[in-house]
Symmetry: D2
Subunit: 343 residues, 4 copies
């Protein structure tokens, strides 16, 4: 299978390169950027020196569609909605890593992203790519989920599907590594400001909130709102999400773990931790794993769910490749079998 | 006023030194440790070279009581309960930074600390030293609060006092810098394991939980439980606590901030952030400040409270000195007017 | 003594604030910035909330000279050379923290800074403010040394003064924390790029090289060149400089330490480490200390000198205040007696 | 090819696992540790959960020799010298990652490691495994080089081979990430002490010094000593080595780069940076690359060589696998073609 990557000079694009280079069935035939040329690319990312023989090209949809079987758009929200159009019109497969095709409700994108949405009929064509819960696995167009959204949705899925939760009690406290903010410079990501620091941002206004609710409603249509906070912690990669919710009825830790084990037993990238064990960020860095630990607090009749992913792995490039594998009927794990890098 | 510091070689003891050295009315007359001598002290802490002319002595209660007016016990939980006894018997003032004299309920210490408590009549003599809410400000014996407990209690005080909260809805997600674990070596605090990592520990079992509930019940006696989680983040200093709770009735962000502003208007170390602003760890490091930001989420009828302290400042040595100032009728701010160190 | 700070919103300006606030004889009467106003200042630096009652003003030399006795220019190189002029014309005292008035040789500034120098007769008025070696301590105009330059010059002074070194053998490998690059955004200081990284920059072209040579030549006029490398390490503050040089004749470690001890015996901010001990960055952070360790390697007839400073302390604001103390005939230590912050 | 790993629970052993799992021609048939069992292994290293189906066994040489074709000893110095003996007696291939079989000179091991060496006739059997310069590529016994030694030797090889250097002028200032100190707990690797810090250690006494000199003498037998310093920087992985030396005759930057390019043109893991570019640690993390940048300083007639490796990659497990590939006549790159992980 031949693929092209647009936006290869961003962190998600680079991570697509890293994984796909050792995918047994995929060949990268072209890489594209509008912000860099080959020379500046190699000089900006010297880790790639002597490893990328392809030229870095301006995006040319016609050429991509001639050479490739699928294109990854690893471009920012707001850009993808323009770049994707020629591919969609030509019925050409796209996996988009931005937020531009995720929100199906009219007006939602405008409200949360603050700019005009793609045409609704285009958005509707996209399958939301939460890999473990794809609705149209053979869809030509896949909207790869957000990093926070992936962790949040996988955290709650089993309990929502099984109708175990008090719906108005869900609190999610999410922490992200700073690569989640991308390579764009800002004071918040300036080393002297972010190192040795922690900061909550986008209070009650992060654009992944409607995406999460949209997915949770598929499992529990009466759910209307969640409390969802996003903070930056001083690590480069990783999301650490702590979710809290009240149960309708008490469960033991063992029952909780059993429920999750059963629910995810066919999902190789979801690893449920044993009773009394909670995942740490480091155990998934460089991989596509989503690791989940669970505890029940009888004093509050409340569960705690600790979920970790690599924001550039399962939260972006890893899941995009998993979605490619599903699309192409490869084993889900192809190209994603690297061990996490530890320590 | 003359003071002695026992346990000066721990991180809280060192921080007492740092603050007290420039306290206008306090003189340190002796420093004590059982684990180090003068030579190993200076070699272990070369930042003190040429700055500490005092010898490092074994603890000798008689000598301390002859020379000093008050003793700080900056010793670990389990040690203080032994060391404090001669001072208490002699009616000599003690500020204890450990957890040994905080829990007033019989059996609580045993349940949460896993060892025998100090005699209950001794524990009862201690005034819980949450400085803004001291009950017996002239008490000779002060149990300085835990770092997490300080942040948690100050976060909720105004809303509990005003009876604004749904009591069974309190969720607190607390993150601590790694100095909170002290200077003892452990795998969890080994650089290669803790750097670039985040880990939840002591799930539903941190020993500050009963301390927090004990204090919250003073404001809302019907409160019985909270959800309280503790995690390590890769910074040396700082606590970042995010608290969530449902309100009985809706409030605007402005009303929330106004409530806190009023409540704390006479407390120089509590700085309420303006509407739409949330504190970051760095803004309090090296100081005794506790900075609090507030937001209301109407979809959930839930507030978010973001609170930051320096775990060695307001969470330990800073508050201990604030308690000393209260005890001695100094201005609360004496010795604590250093600006936070930034960046 | 009344002072004004221009450029208070940069990292060195903030550090001047931190130290001067507790200087016993100095009052800050005005603070100035052209890039921020009071509102953006407090919002950018919430650590200062409620602590700075002064307004943040545009710089007005007339007003400053009416109100103050001295002005600190904590402005970048290239800016100071303009701002300083009215003060110099009015014979008003200035301590400048930039590189604009340090290089006395005609053409040197242009060659190393890449822009036009201040008028040479103005530059000549400035006393180079290496505090331990001031030539005109009562000068009204002080060019505060660069951070690297301070560490480098203090490292070598005793051996050069005593003519112990083979002059063509000096190699200095200097590492700086990232705050040294200031608050300006750049890819090199973007968290995701600088964290977990180390990078050499300005190979053989750092603008502190001619400054160092200029000072070293005062002690050894025949010295012409040094090897001096500058790298960024992932810490916020601190310079760690390792200097190597061949000796004309062998010395023992004890003789080396003795030589330095003697040389600096009247300098309270220079702390020579005992034989076999070498300083670490953390032992000077938040202070004005310069700590030096020494070793002799008989196989190479070469010494190693390890020198650490806080780039914002002894490398900038701390030394500026030390220079103020010298100028005003205060004890050199006034306002600088804070313990380093540890850990 | 079937291999066993002894000492799999150390950082180098874990990294062997990570690489070998995707080596096309190697199967890991057994893993061994004396400090952990299967349960504690998975609990200590949750990143491996569900990924390692092998049991964790006590080492049993007989069983290993029956099942495997080669054994990796990823055990500490002092342990390997015991564990290797039965394999050597049985003429069974060993790649040893410790320092126990590297120093060929009688007395050297005792002098630098401070304990008894392996029998000299055993040491002599081992081929020093600097992969680009193997002397006996088909040797059954390979002493994998130290991490610092690898970087140091590769830095200087071309210039020594070509006799360009003034031999008594070599100064190497090496910085290592903290994983180089292994998983053993120590104050120096305690997070609160090592974070935001930098420290020189083992002044003129690091055990890699004689190893480096031994190798350099193969290229320049008259070389007798180097200045070599080792420091810890606050990153988990990576070595950043800055080497300085005087040239016998001036060279341009272009000539230097050309010399290195030619010298290493058949070595896929050595990447010489273009003129004016110097490598950073991040560009090799997670890989077997050794990246080198070069500059000439005419004022000093001195070159600067900047060399970076991943201490667990080219500095340990990566090079061990490269040595396996050479031994087995596989392509040198097999199993080592992962892209560095960036950012």
């Amino acid at each position: 299978m031949k693929v092209s990557i647009v936006g290869v000079t961003g962190y998600s694009g680079l991570e697509l390169l890293r994984y796909l280079r050792q995918h047994p069935y995929v060949e990268i035939v072209s890489i594209h950027s509008h912000s860099m040329n080959k020379k500046s690319f190699e000089s900006s990312y010297p880790h790639l020196k002597q490893l990328i023989s392809l030229p870095l090209e301006e995006m040319d949809p016609e050429k991509i569609m001639q050479q490739s079987d699928l294109v990854f758009l690893a471009t920012p929200s707001g850009i993808s909605k323009e770049l994707a159009l020629p591919f969609i019109q030509a019925n050409f497969p796209v996996i988009d890593l931005s937020g531009d095709f995720r929100l199906k409700e009219i007006g939602a994108y405008e409200a949360w992203y603050g700019s005009a949405a793609a045409p609704i009929e285009i958005i509707q064509k996209f399958d939301y790519g939460l890999a473990e819960y794809r609705e149209k696995p053979q869809s030509n167009w896949i909207a790869n989920p957000g990093c926070y959204a992936t962790a949040a949705e996988l955290s709650l899925a089993p309990l929502l599907v099984e109708r175990k939760l008090e719906l108005d009690s869900i609190v999610m406290d999410a922490k992200s590594g700073i690569s989640g903010a991308g390579k764009g410079l800002s004071r918040m990501t300036h080393y002297s400001e972010s190192h040795d620091n922690m900061a909550l941002y986008k209070m009650n206004s992060h654009q992944h909130i409607p995406e999460i609710i949209q997915q949770l409603k598929k499992w529990e249509p009466t759910l209307n709102a969640i409390q969802f906070s996003t903070s930056l912690i001083p690590v480069t990669r990783g999301i650490f999400l702590t979710a809290y919710a009240k149960l309708k009825e008490a469960m033991t830790d063992e029952e909780l773990v059993q429920l999750y084990d059963n629910h995810f037993k066919h999902n190789p990238f979801i690893r449920i931790q044993e009773v009394g064990h909670y995942p740490v960020i480091k155990q998934v860095i460089g991989s596509n794993f989503c690791d989940i630990g669970l505890a029940y607090n009888p004093q509050m009749n409340m569960i705690t769910i600790v979920t970790v992913i690599d924001n550039l792995g399962k939260g972006a490039a890893g899941q995009a490749i998993q979605n490619l594998n599903i699309f192409a009927s490869f084993d889900e794990r192809c190209g994603l079998e690297l061990l996490p890098i530890y320590p």
